[in-house]
């Protein structure tokens, strides 16, 4: 019988305690952050969208090889003598035209493995994380600074150069043969 009244009392009492707590919370300020208007500061080493500083990129393809999902596509064209591509900020001489540098962020898993092998530290994480698109192809970011025509020009230049070199080589070889013939 005592148990019975104790239960009754406990039931009422605990409900009142709970109601008091919720009543207090009714007037505590909300902890909600109004996201698009208010944003939290991101942590220091956050991993979001990549950025490539093409002024520093030497086209060494190391990032592309490090990527576990192969989402970086790089195409390069060798420069011909006489073309000056400038130097990177840490003093490396550039020797390749980067004609294509695409990163497909639909595939990227933000593992940051591409960042470390870069010899000039020109590929790195930014703090941009809101870049959703309606079309998957819009997620392929093109970083190459050369335009189509320029890239074509460089390619033709290089082909011409190799062809010339090839011609010179064959001419030289032919000359060598002739010389040998006359000598014998």
């Amino acid at each position: 019988m005592r148990e019975y009244f104790r239960n009754t009392w406990l039931g009422i009492y605990t409900v009142l305690v709970g109601m008091k707590i919720t009543f207090k919370h009714l007037f505590t300020p909300a902890v909600t952050i109004q996201y698009p208007e208010v944003k939290l500061k991101l942590p220091e080493r956050e991993r979001n969208r990549l950025y490539v500083n093409m002024d520093d990129c030497i086209g060494c393809d190391q990032c592309s090889r490090a990527c576990p999902v192969n989402c970086i596509e790089i195409e390069t064209v060798k420069s011909i003598p006489g073309e000056d591509l400038g130097v990177t900020s840490n003093g490396k001489k550039k020797a390749l035209w980067v004609t294509k540098f695409n990163i497909d962020f639909a595939k990227c898993c933000y593992c940051q493995l591409c960042v470390f092998p870069c010899p000039t530290e020109c590929i790195y994480m930014t703090d941009v994380f809101e870049f959703s698109e309606y079309n998957r192809n819009d997620l392929i970011y093109k970083f190459a600074t050369l335009t189509e025509e320029e890239a074509k020009e460089k390619r033709i230049n290089f082909e011409k150069f190799t062809a010339e070199k090839e011609a010179q080589k064959t001419a030289a070889a032919a000359k060598l043969k002739e010389d040998q013939k006359t000598a014998s």
């Binding site: 009754t8 505590t28 909300a30």
Partner: protein, 355 residues
């Protein structure tokens, strides 16, 4: 009200329809504001903000939801019993809406001044059980059926303590008419039944503690009858999806929701009529002291709605405080605690009244 419109139109059916619009409007408004308040209060209790994008303070959120509901396709499952399936929401809504016929909103706004109003209210609200069982059975879904069975067991069990407390009120007032019960508690708040009724004397003071116990019991059991948390096992979202209306969508689902909020206000109204003076003001009427006769019914309507909303707010507050009861706990609360207490209460009140 009815007489007024009857004189105006001279047509019984038309005037009845016009009078019936007021409670319908009330139910709609209760549902609109109730859902909004529920979201806001729950958000505040959990230290969130709640809806705040649709209109100022998110006020139009429920209206937007309602428009969305209207546009929805009326999708139905293949193996339902379509006759029962279609009747059920109408029946549930009818059950909760018919209660309003006997509820006095003010001395001038009563659907029907029946002498057995209280009896009618208790009887007609049981119609809801039938609707719920139908919905659960016709949906051909395990969750729905489980929810419906639980609901039937719960509503029927909790009707007993409600009825006993109602009986003790009837013993004190000597009438079943809701209007007369309200009128007995007129003028000031010390005439309210929870403070022992209007008759001044020893009985009044002896009655007070038992009336408070009675109020607590009837509040708990009406809460269970309208399936509100902590007694929401029939529609327990986390275990039964949505209970008996799992298979419903669009407007049919909205009917269930509407009847739930209609029920909430109805039981709040009943409790306030039985214990808190119904539509009567606790502090006297402005219309009386200023000598403006026509102001009084409006004041009465205001006080009635204010009392009803107070109880709705308490229900919402409770919902976001307490966890759901288990089925066995639910039954033991009803049969082992509420019913014995209600019986003892009834007997003691009887003895006090004999003094």
């Amino acid at each position: 009200m009815y007489e007024y419109f009857y004189e105006l139109t001279g047509n019984t059916i038309l005037s009845t329809l016009i009078v019936a619009i007021f409670p319908l409007l009330n139910v709609l408004i209760v549902a609109l504001i109730g859902v909004y308040l529920e979201r806001k209060v729950s958000a505040r209790i959990q230290d969130r903000i709640g809806p705040n994008r649709t209109g100022p303070f998110g006020l139009f959120q429920t209206i937007a939801d309602f428009v969305k509901m209207l546009q929805k396709e009326d999708a139905t499952a293949k193996d339902i019993d379509s006759k029962l399936y279609n009747i059920a929401p109408v029946l549930v809504f009818t059950g909760s809406f018919a209660v309003y016929a006997a509820i006095p909103f003010s001395s001038k706004l009563i659907g029907s001044e029946v002498e057995v109003g209280l009896f009618y209210v208790i009887a007609i609200s049981s119609l809801v059980v039938g609707g719920i069982l139908m919905a659960g059975w016709a949906s051909n879904n395990k969750y729905s059926l489980l929810g419906a069975m639980r609901s039937a067991a719960q509503i029927i069990s909790y009707e007993i303590p409600t009825a006993i407390i109602v009986l003790s009120i009837v013993m004190i007032t000597g009438t079943l008419s809701l209007d007369k019960i309200s009128n007995m508690q007129t003028a000031y708040f010390w005439n309210w039944n929870i403070l022992g009724g209007a008759e001044f004397g020893l009985t009044k003071f002896l009655l007070i503690p038992f009336m408070i116990v009675g109020f607590i019991i009837i509040f708990i059991s009406t809460l269970a009858e309208v399936n509100r948390t902590p007694f929401d096992i029939p529609e327990a979202e986390s275990e039964l999806v949505a209970g008996y209306f799992t298979e419903y969508c669009g407007m049919k689902w909205a009917m269930f929701m509407l009847s739930e909020y209609g029920n909430m206000f109805a039981v709040s109204a009943i409790v306030s009529i039985l214990f808190f003076g119904g539509y009567h003001s606790p502090i006297g009427y402005l219309g009386n002291s200023l000598g403006i006769e026509w102001l009084i019914p409006f004041e009465q309507a205001f006080w009635f709605l204010a009392k009803g909303w107070t109880f709705i707010l308490i229900q919402i507050w409770l919902r976001w405080t307490l966890p759901r009861l288990r089925v066995d706990q639910l039954m033991s609360l009803c049969w082992k605690y509420l019913i014995p207490y209600a019986f003892v209460n009834l007997i003691v009140i009887g003895i006090i009244l004999l003094l």
